[in-house]
């Protein structure tokens, strides 16, 4: 019965292909947008999660935040010196994390902590040597930074503890930087570069080269050559001409054996005690997994919101289905009369028309699904994110399209079923 009705519905659609296609279009666009957005959202989540977890799951980020503001724990660690907080208020020097606190922390937590990674952003600058130049972002770091952030060392060594102690003028540069500054394949290690800052010119000796990795997703608007890469120097060197000696953000590297979540809680309690008397500021402690959760939930909220808007286009598509079904019922009044004269029960007629609406919606849904995955795949490949297709979304969207067919096909079908056979037969 159902199968024969499906056949019947197909025949009916085939006899009016153009109309069927136009009716489907609303559903196609609706499903395509939803699937496209979901696929892009999933790809972004996967990509962000991937790059975040590559930063190290044992890292615990501590940052000074204004009390009362929501801790979102968002943003990769190591972006110290970023004083911006949501209310625009700036913490005083006393509110920040001091070297003493870090020393205490290392002592208190002992074996649980492998080290504390510090980074301090010292602004942008330009390295120049005659016609050769490279844009850089100077970042003052300690030795642990390289461990915490999985910096891939290509040659030489990373900033060492001794460099930090001696406030040496050493620098670790990116392979891109080397390409710009030493186009003739000279060995950069041991070379001295001139760095032009806003107010001064400084000389640094290159002690190491790391592999540049594009952060996150999306291209920079700057051309390959002008792209700024990070120029690591000892944190003490970076800070010597700055008044502020304390830190806004530090990263604690948990030891391999420690439970990261547990350590996070312990650190939070530790700093809550330290900041108990501070009315305006507190230290927010978060680890990668909580950051991952935040990122994922933020992204999924955004995708859901956009998908909801796309859902409205499905609603419009559904109304289109209803509209065309009403036209179809009116057009086929005589057929309905004939069927009733031949003994069709009301439910036969109703089923026939509902099935037709469901077929239009289902076919539209499948086409939309294919196009949506196509759009998702295209955008994912542009973003360089992996393509994730979830079975739930795939099957769900087709079922949802069919449900739209049922909902919007029901009224026209009921109208057809309720027709008086005599009137219907007389209809011209």
């Amino acid at each position: 019965m159902i199968w024969e009705n499906i056949g019947l519905a197909f025949q009916s659609l085939k006899s009016n292909k153009m109309r069927a296609l136009l009716t489907m279009l609303g559903i196609i666009i609706g499903i395509m947008s939803i699937i496209g957005i979901m696929t892009i959202g999933d790809a972004l989540t996967a990509s962000v999660s991937g790059s975040l977890s590559s930063l190290g799951t044992n890292n615990i980020t501590l940052s000074v935040q204004e009390r009362g503001t929501q801790s979102n724990g968002f943003g990769p660690p190591g972006m110290g010196g970023d004083r911006g907080s949501s209310s625009g208020k700036t913490p005083e020097s006393d509110d920040l994390i001091t070297d003493q606190m870090i020393a205490d922390l290392t002592e208190t937590f002992g074996g649980l902590v492998t080290g504390v990674s510090i980074s301090y952003s010292a602004g942008s600058a330009k390295a120049q040597d005659g016609d050769l130049y490279a844009n850089i972002t100077i970042s003052g770091v300690n030795a642990n930074y390289g461990v915490a952030n999985n910096v891939t060392q290509l040659s030489g060594s990373f900033i060492a503890e001794s460099d930090v102690e001696n406030k040496s003028q050493s620098a670790v540069v990116s392979d891109k930087f080397v390409k710009s500054m030493f186009p003739n394949n000279e060995n950069p290690i041991g070379q001295t570069v001139k760095v032009y800052k806003t107010r001064s010119i400084e000389l640094y000796t290159i002690i190491g080269v790391y592999q540049y990795e594009q952060q996150g997703f999306g291209g920079s608007t700057a051309s390959e050559k002008d792209m700024s890469t990070t120029f690591y120097i000892p944190v003490t060197t970076a800070k010597q001409d700055l008044l502020e000696k304390n830190y806004n953000t530090i990263t604690v590297i948990g030891s391999v054996s420690s439970d990261v979540d547990d350590l996070t809680n312990q650190l939070q309690r530790h700093f809550d005690r330290l900041y108990a008397n501070n009315e305006d500021w507190q230290v927010s402690v978060s680890n990668m997994s909580s950051m991952l959760d935040t990122v994922q939930s933020t992204l999924s909220t955004i995708s859901m919101a956009i998908a909801f808007i796309a859902g409205i286009s499905l609603l419009v598509g559904g109304i289109g289905v209803m509209n065309i079904m009403l036209v179809s019922v009116t057009e086929r009044t005589k057929e309905i009369g004939t069927r009733k004269a031949l003994g069709a029960q009301n439910f036969h007629i109703q089923l026939q028309f509902v099935m037709e609406a469901v077929m239009v919606s289902a076919i539209g849904g499948i086409i939309g699904l294919i196009l949506g995955i196509g759009v998702g795949a295209l955008v994912s490949s542009i973003l360089g994110a992996p393509l994730v297709i979830s079975a739930v979304t795939t099957i769900g969207s087709v079922l949802f399209a069919m449900a739209i067919g049922v909902v919007f096909g029901l009224y026209p079908a009921k109208k057809a079923a309720k027709m008086d056979p005599i009137d219907a037969l007389r209809y011209e």
Binding site: Q11, G343, N346, L425
Partner: protein
């Protein structure tokens, strides 16, 4: 008797206090296997009578027994079942479903009866052979001539082996020659298949070919030639 009508009255309420009485107490018996013509001018009540005979409508008053079933005041779903199994309709405008083949059209009443596909197909082919349309069974209605369409429609009317064939001006849309051919098929259905055929027409010449002519006017029977064919 396959059909027994007792004092059938049909009134239409066209807004109180006006009401229009179309059938004014009509009594009519039709014996099984007869070929009856019901003749009348337009407005005589012949369409209303056909609707009641065809279980498309209920009489306001009176009793209607069809093949032993009291059809008088049955609910819609039961009327659908009666139409499906006891009545075969043939319309002036053929009323074939346009998007399906001749064969599928013939299968339709059996589909609504719930008969399986294989059995339906087989029976439909037999019926199309009976009306000499077996070579056209895969054709769509719009590929058939008027006469051919009507032959398919007759095959369809016979599908569930009904008690009566109810034909409403079946030759009205055909030229005389084709009309005669269609009449011949009705004759054959009546003689060979022993079917009761009720022909509703305003064409006196056509009516004369049947066993019995019932003439109605203003909602009443004004003449009835009786069982001419049976008596002869």
């Amino acid at each position: 008797m396959v059909i027994e009508l007792r004092d059938i009255v049909k009134k239409y309420f066209i807004g109180a206090p006006n009401e229009l009485t179309v059938l004014k107490g009509m009594t009519l018996d039709i014996e099984e296997g007869t070929f009856v013509a019901i003749v009348g001018q337009s407005g005589s009540g012949k369409s209303t009578l056909m609707n009641i005979l065809g279980a498309l409508d209920r009489p306001t008053e009176g009793e209607y027994h069809l093949d032993g079933v009291d059809v008088g005041q049955l609910p819609d779903s039961e009327l659908s079942r009666i139409r499906n199994q006891k009545i075969g309709f043939v319309f002036q405008t053929f009323n074939l479903i346009p998007r399906i083949t001749a064969l599928s059209n013939v299968e339709l009443p059996m589909f609504y009866k719930g008969i399986g596909k294989r059995e339906r197909k087989e029976r439909a082919k037999e019926l199309l052979a009976l009306v000499e349309m077996e070579d056209r069974m895969a054709h769509m209605p719009n590929e058939l001539s008027g006469g051919q369409k009507q032959r398919v429609a007759i095959a369809r009317a016979l599908a569930n082996d009904p008690a009566i064939i109810l034909a409403d001006e079946p030759t009205g849309a055909l030229d005389t020659q084709t009309g005669n051919l269609v009449m011949d098929i009705f004759m054959r259905v009546n003689r060979q298949e022993k079917k009761t055929v009720i022909l509703i027409t305003h064409n006196e010449v056509l009516a004369q070919k049947t066993d019995r002519v019932v003439t109605i006017q203003d909602g009443m029977i004004i003449s009835d030639t009786g069982m001419k064919g049976v008596l002869a």
